[in-house]
């Protein structure tokens, strides 16, 4: 078994109101070191084998369903599990 991680983030030029809300809350909690926050999504996909064909399929679904290429970027990586 293997786990494939897909990270989806709003493109840098796209406004991220959720990240801004989180950032705005930090000073109220006394955290002052953080200068910006952007919020994305992480998907954990369980697959039998993380071979080339499976990863090609993951890239395809990441670019169609998991992310909207107009406003988001995605990254795929494999996390080996026992």
């Amino acid at each position: 078994m293997a786990r494939v991680i897909v990270d989806v983030m709003p493109k840098p030029e796209i406004l991220d109101p959720q990240g801004k809300a989180v950032h705005g809350a930090l000073p109220r909690l006394g955290f002052t070191a953080v200068t910006d926050v952007r919020q994305g999504k992480r998907f954990e996909l369980e697959v039998a084998v993380a071979d080339e064909a499976t990863l090609a399929e993951v890239h395809q679904l990441a670019g169609t369903l998991l992310s909207n290429p107009v406003i988001e970027d995605y990254a795929v990586r494999v996390e080996e599990t026992a």
Binding site: E13, I14, L15, P17
Partner: protein
């Protein structure tokens, strides 16, 4: 003239859209998200609401509903398709319209009577308006900020594909105050405000929204 209204799990405004079609003189045909069947309708409306709970992204899962295969094919063939609010989000996710809708810049849900300027009165859904006409219809959304890259925005403006713009107040951070757009052919229109809630004096801020529906009925009769 038979105008189909698709109901997805989580659609809210499907019955209001059907009602608007009937008041405009058309026959409203309920369509179901799980069917591969448009029941021979002449046009389709994707109504407002929260299809599939807005999970993942607004409209992202609805885009892959069985009925959308037929809607996309029909739209590409020239059938008039109107997406209102969540329907607009679905049209963008389906790539029938460019751009995308993101969370309101002020991060709160907004519900207000919104004034718009009609900028394109030659689409299948706006021919009963005149260019420059100001209308007031309800607006209610949490993720209504229209975004696209600068080149796309320039093209939309240059080709006259901006159908309506917000007046006085930009309620959700939409770039260039864009409230609604159309495709190049003018048969597919999407907008965040709700014309179907402004078709009767009793239940809306007026009847300014009715012409979206009479436009389609008239266009279909003329065809």
């Amino acid at each position: 003239m038979r105008i189909g209204v698709v109901t997805f799990p989580g659609s809210l405004d499907d019955t209001d859209a059907q009602r608007a079609v009937r008041i405009a003189g058309g026959e409203a045909v309920p369509l179901w998200h799980g069917d591969h069947d448009l029941k021979g309708v002449d046009a389709v409306i994707l109504p407002g609401g929260f299809s599939y709970g807005d999970y993942l992204r607004c409209g992202a899962i609805a885009r892959f509903a069985p009925v959308m295969t037929e809607v996309v094919a029909a739209a590409q063939g020239g059938m008039p398709v109107l997406g209102i609010c969540n329907g607009f989000q679905i049209l963008c996710e389906s790539h029938l319209l460019p751009g995308a809708l993101i969370r309101n810049d002020h991060r709160t849900f907004i519900c207000r009577d919104q004034t718009l300027t009609i900028e394109n009165a030659s689409t299948a859904w706006t021919s009963d308006y005149t260019v420059g006409q100001q209308i007031t219809v309800p607006l209610k959304n949490g993720e209504g900020g229209f975004v696209a890259d600068a080149a796309t925005l320039d093209r939309l403006e240059g080709e006259g594909q901006v159908v309506a713009r917000y007046v006085d107040v930009n309620p959700n951070g939409s770039l260039r105050d864009i409230a609604g757009i159309t495709n190049e052919r003018g048969n597919v229109v999407g907008l965040m405000p709700h014309p179907e809630h402004a078709v009767e004096d009793l239940t809306g801020p007026g009847t300014d929204g009715l012409a979206f529906f009479t436009s389609a009925v008239r266009a279909l009769v003329a065809r």
